[in-house]
Each structure stands twice: as structure tokens, then as C-alpha cells.
């Protein structure tokens, strides 16, 4: 997400949150459209696809869940996969906690944590000072609607689209992933290193006989944990660097 102009932000109102959430919602719309299409292709109903998006609100986790569901993976593998892929949110929530104004009680924290996605976190963190609850409600509402609506449209209408449009949309979510990882990889050598290790391991798990029998969920877990651990061992972050 682009940094928001600070002069633009006299206070954290609900409307402001809505406005800052709009570009996120638009991005989500196109990506969740592809998710909805893929979910239906993997044997889910439209309602099931939309329910996943409404309750999970996470692109990478949901994408990884689809092949596991289609393959009838165990619930333990599903839980472990989600835990690894979504572990980054724990760090974001820790960090977001420091941005919340002190009037926010546990109940409100429980509501906000539901919608702490990469992009919402990035925008909330880029605000000067503490963020208020009305602003956060707005900032989270628009992307949630965009994510759910896009899933519905993709699941319901995806099959109506001509084949060449459908195959072109298949790459949307990976475009979003690249847009998240490449700018920091360009700036920071350790991030480049971590990404390179993860990609190399992922290629091994796909193409090396024997290794390619490991299921997709566990392969992602092993790649990510090994690459992040290598990064943490060789390039420990300084205090203010953590994501």
C-alpha cells in the first residue's frame, strides 16, 4: 500500500477510515474474484466460498486451504498450514496493539483483530500517532465488503466468463503476492535472502522425486520455517525493523 499523505489526516473519523479502505477494497475485489472462481473449480458451492472469505479474510491462507480441502487433508494439517501461513498476523497484531488508543477495551481489540490483514495493518501503521476506533471500523469495513463481494462475484459469475479471461485472472493473486514481497526485497538484502531460500526449497518440493510427495500444506510450512529461521539466524533484525 502506498503511504497516505499525512496532511490529509486531521483526525481518525469513520468516514476517513472508509476512504482509506477503498483502494484496499478494490485490490481485494479483483483478487477475491479469482479466489471465488478457483473455490468453485475445486468443488465448493458459491455460499461455501463466500463463507470462507467472510470468516477468514486472508488471501494466502484461503488459497492454501483450497487444495487441502479438495484433497481431503486432515484437520490437523489444515490447522498447521493456517498457523504457519498466518503466523505473520501475530506479529502485526502485536505491533497494531501499540497503535490503538488507550480507551480501547478487550472487546474492541477482539473485533479489530479479526480484520488485521497485511494491507489494513500497513495503512493503520502508517497513520501518525494512535488510531481511534471509529477510523479502524471504517478502515476494516470496506476491505471486508470488497473481499466478500469479490468472492461472491467470482464464485457465481466466474464460470460465465470466457475461458481466456478466467485463465488471465488466475494470476491476479500471485501478482498481489509479488507486490507485497518485492519492494522490501529490493530494499533489504536479508529479505531477498529469505525469499530466495523459500523459493528454492519450494522448487525442490515440487520437482525432486520423493520430496514432491509431501503435501502442499506441509511443503509450505517447511519452506517458510526453514527460510525464516535461516534469515533470523544470519540477519537478526534491529529493534525497529520488525515487519
Amino acid at each position: 500500500m502506498k503511504q497516505v499523505n499525512r496532511a490529509d489526516l486531521p483526525s481518525g473519523t469513520f468516514r476517513q477510515g472508509i476512504r482509506h479502505g477503498l483502494p484496499i477494497a478494490l485490490g481485494y475485489l479483483s483478487v477475491s474474484f479469482a479466489f471465488g472462481m478457483k473455490a468453485v473449480g475445486d468443488g465448493l458451492s458459491v455460499l461455501q466460498a463466500v463463507l470462507i472469505s467472510m470468516t477468514n479474510l486472508t488471501s494466502a491462507g484461503q488459497m492454501a486451504a483450497l487444495p487441502l480441502m479438495a484433497a481431503g487433508a486432515s484437520l490437523a494439517e489444515m490447522a498447521l498450514t493456517q498457523l504457519t501461513i498466518n503466523l505473520r498476523y501475530a506479529l502485526m497484531s502485536l505491533s497494531l496493539g501499540r497503535k490503538l488508543d488507550s480507551s480501547m477495551g478487550t472487546l474492541q481489540r477482539m473485533i479489530f483483530s479479526f480484520a488485521n490483514t497485511d494491507e489494513i495493518f500497513a495503512v493503520a501503521s502508517s497513520q501518525p500517532g494512535k488510531v481511534g476506533k471509529n477510523y479502524l471500523y471504517g478502515l476494516m469495513l470496506t476491505p471486508w465488503i470488497g473481499w466478500s463481494l469479490g468472492t461472491f462475484l467470482g464464485a457465481a459469475a466466474g464460470t460465465l466468463l470466457p475461458a481466456f479471461v478466467r485463465s488471465a485472472l488466475g494470476i491476479a493473486i500471485y501478482g498481489m503476492f509479488l507486490a507485497i514481497i518485492l519492494p522490501p526485497a529490493r530494499k533489504h538484502r536479508p529479505v531477498r535472502f529469505v525469499v530466495a531460500i523459500a523459493v528454492a526449497l519450494s522448487l525442490c518440493f515440487r520437482y525432486i522425486p520423493g520430496l514432491n510427495t509431501v503435501s502442499s500444506g506441509f511443503a509450505i510450512i517447511i519452506c517458510a520455517v526453514a527460510a525464516a529461521a535461516a534469515g533470523a539466524a544470519l540477519f537478526p533484525m534491529k529493534e525497529e525493523e520488525s515487519a
Binding site: P23, S30, S167, A168, G170, I171, G175, P183, V199
Partner: protein
């Protein structure tokens, strides 16, 4: 998918994802002291997304050649720091154009 199969999956994915986001905001409000753990958590998103993107992105369009075009455009724009929306849509457009080109030749 049968609801009896689907609902446990839904409960697990939504439940695990929510707890990961919720517990650090409510229960564990202390700072993480270990520099290794903080760094590990900081690198996890890049490692996860890298492993999820490659090599899967090359199979995302059903044709390796069009996927390569899409990846090239996405990498170029993402490297220059364009927004998520721009990168995602430009990759789709590149794939669509590549498909049209392949149909013509």
C-alpha cells in the same frame, strides 16, 4: 462439497486464523524479547508468500508461456513499488494479451 465435510474445515481455518490475530492483541500484550523470535516472525510473511508464489504462479494460467509474460510484468511493476491493485491487474492484462498473441500466430 458436502457441508459435513466443509464445516469442520471452515471452523478450523477461521478459528486458527482468528486466534493468531486475536491473542497477541488481547492476551499477550508484552513485547517479544528474543531477537531471534522477532526476526523469525518478521521474515515469515516473505518466506510464506515466496514459497506460495513459486513455482505455482507458472501454472496459474494453464499455459506456461502466458504465465511467464504475466510474471515478468508483475515482477517489473512490483520491483518499482507499484500498488497491489496495479500489479495484480497488469499481470492479468499481460496474460490476456499473451493469449491473444498466441491465438494469432
Amino acid at each position: 462439497m458436502k457441508w459435513s465435510v466443509f464445516l469442520p474445515y471452515l471452523a478450523v481455518t477461521a478459528g486458527v486464523t482468528y486466534l493468531i490475530r486475536m491473542l497477541p492483541l488481547t492476551v499477550f500484550r508484552r513485547e517479544i524479547r528474543s531477537r531471534f523470535v522477532r526476526s523469525f516472525l518478521g521474515y515469515i510473511p516473505y518466506a510464506v508468500l515466496g514459497a506460495m508464489t513459486f513455482p505455482d504462479v507458472f501454472y496459474s494460467t494453464g499455459d506456461l508461456r502466458t504465465a511467464i509474460c504475466g510474471v515478468a510484468v508483475a515482477v517489473l511493476l512490483a520491483w518499482r513499488g507499484r500498488s497491489l491493485l496495479t500489479v495484480a491487474l497488469a499481470a492479468c492484462v499481460a496474460v490476456a494479451l499473451a493469449q491473444a498473441f498466441l491465438l494469432l500466430v
